[in-house]
Amino acid sequence: MMFLLDDTRISYGNFTLDPGRLELEKGRIYCLTGPNGSGKSTLLKIIGLQLKPSTGSVEFDGEKVNRADAEKLLKQRRKISFMLQDSRLFQRSVYDNAAYALKIRGVLPADITKRVNEMLERLEIGHLAKRSLQGLSGGESQRVRLARNLVLDTPVYILDEPSAGLDTRGRELLADILTSYNREKGSTIIFCSHHKEEAYRMSPELIAVIDGRVSSIPRENVLSGSAEKTGDRLYRFFNDKIDHLYFSYDHEQKGKVSLAIDPDEIILSLSEVHTSARNCLPGTVQSITETPSSVQLTVSAGEDFTVLITKNSLEEMKLAKGSPVYLLFKATAVKVVN
């Protein structure tokens, strides 16, 4: 077990993050999913030993984390390469930024030079090594941040939105590096990302964080909005992106609601068909990612939906980026998650 969060909880104003008991195994890849403001970054900070929970305990690599022992805590923190969502680049050259975390760990200068140059090359920003931050694009800056974290040889990498601002090539490089670290060194990787297609390329285990709670069952296609009763146990969901999405629910539901739809429950159709499925949403294929077991599609239908299909279906339907499709799913396939 790499991390064990036991009954941890933290509150800010009206928001409470209450992941309960969370176990993260060594050598696995985890992806935190959930809407903005659901508590993903806070949870990553607690896991990364950067934030002290108000209650409960955190175990790291079999040892209980004791914040009173500053020296031990520092040693434990240095086994984790943690990248904050708003990680700041320092006012020095690209090379010096990338070398910072190694320098403060007392790594030998010759070793630093070799490792930093290798990492900058691997992220295809070797030519920027001597540059100051002035004039770097957003994507280049993000690659420098990544280099600073990925150059570390730690058993754990925790990355908050590592693909933010990266172009397709940057996201591919990131996924390749993380996958190789996991396969070759057995590194534990925990991250959250809005770019699902790159995230799924690494076949991570999903952890859903919704309204500060961690779901035991990974949730996909999480939507937040309002509900309005339209029939017996039938509700209409709407937000600023979706107007009509029907779900059935046995209890009274009013006002704000968060829903999740299992990607396996969604059927893709090339034309609008009338079936027993109450929901038929027109959309466009945004991305197609092939994983070893299936094909993962992101379809934009107001909100982005993740859909899983087989490789045969992909070939038969001749789907490509930009193809118009319809998403079909029953009202009972939509789960209320809060």
């Binding site: 500053a70 520092l74 910072y100 760990r105 600073r148």
Partner: protein, 233 residues
């Protein structure tokens, strides 16, 4: 209009010819303003870091007072120091009134709140993001402070440039505490005031040109520092 053109032509002559009195006034202004800025930074920058890094009761009150003092008129500071340094004042025996030391004391007090308040607001914005990033990368407390000081350097420099420009252009403190004594405490601003009242536009305009040139130079330098500071965010 002739007196203006005459003044401008006299000003050019003074600047180009290397007139002794003209350049000694300029030099004295630069010297006194530099010393005051240096003293205010030695006192104000550590105070600002202390106010940002340490939490204690009354901290916000001190920052609020410092912010309010930023806009105190120069003559009020001059009056206060005058009262302390005059013969009947508590430090009258030191006979500092109408000396360069008195001007430096007044100017330092004038810009101390500027240095403290601007530095506090600059490094406060930095504090959280720099230290959190350093901590996330494995820095211990000392290393976090080191990188914080290093990151603050451009922002602090920009604050000191602003303080220098305020003190370089002030007239109230220099006039009240220096007495505008020729070849001793006469600065650019006090000389302009005196020469203009005498109708000597040549020297006034020449000094005005230097004052403007320094103000432009300061602002360009400030812009450069601000750019460097913003790039890192």
């Amino acid at each position: 209009m002739d007196y203006i053109f005459g003044g401008i032509s006299e000003a050019m002559r003074l600047i180009v010819s290397g007139d002794g009195e003209f350049w000694s006034i300029v030099w004295l202004s630069v010297k006194l303003s530099s010393i005051s800025t240096l003293l205010a930074s030695f006192l104000g920058v550590p105070a600002a870091f202390f106010l940002v890094l340490k939490r204690f009761r009354g901290r916000d009150m001190i920052i609020t007072i410092s912010n309010s003092l930023m806009s105190v008129p120069t003559v009020v500071v001059g009056l206060f120091v005058y009262a302390v340094l005059s013969r009947r004042g508590p430090l009258g025996d030191l006979a500092l009134l109408f000396t360069q030391v008195a001007v430096v004391i007044g100017q330092t007090l004038l810009i101390l709140p500027v240095v403290i308040s601007l530095t506090v607001s600059t490094i406060r914005a930095l504090d959280k993001s720099v230290r959190e990033t350093a901590s996330s990368l494995g820095a211990d407390k000392k290393q976090q402070l080191m990188i914080f000081f290093s990151e603050a350097r451009f922002g602090v420099a920009a604050c000191l440039i602003t303080a220098f420009s305020r003190v370089f252009a002030e007239v109230g403190v220099s006039m009240m505490l220096g007495g505008n004594l020729r070849n001793y405490t006469r600065t650019i601003t006090t000389a302009i005031a005196l020469e203009t009242s005498k109708g000597e536009f040549g020297l006034s305009i020449a000094l005005g040109i230097v004052l403007l040139a320094v103000a432009f130079a300061i602002n360009f330098t400030f812009l450069k520092f601000t750019k460097l500071y913003r790039t890192a965010e």
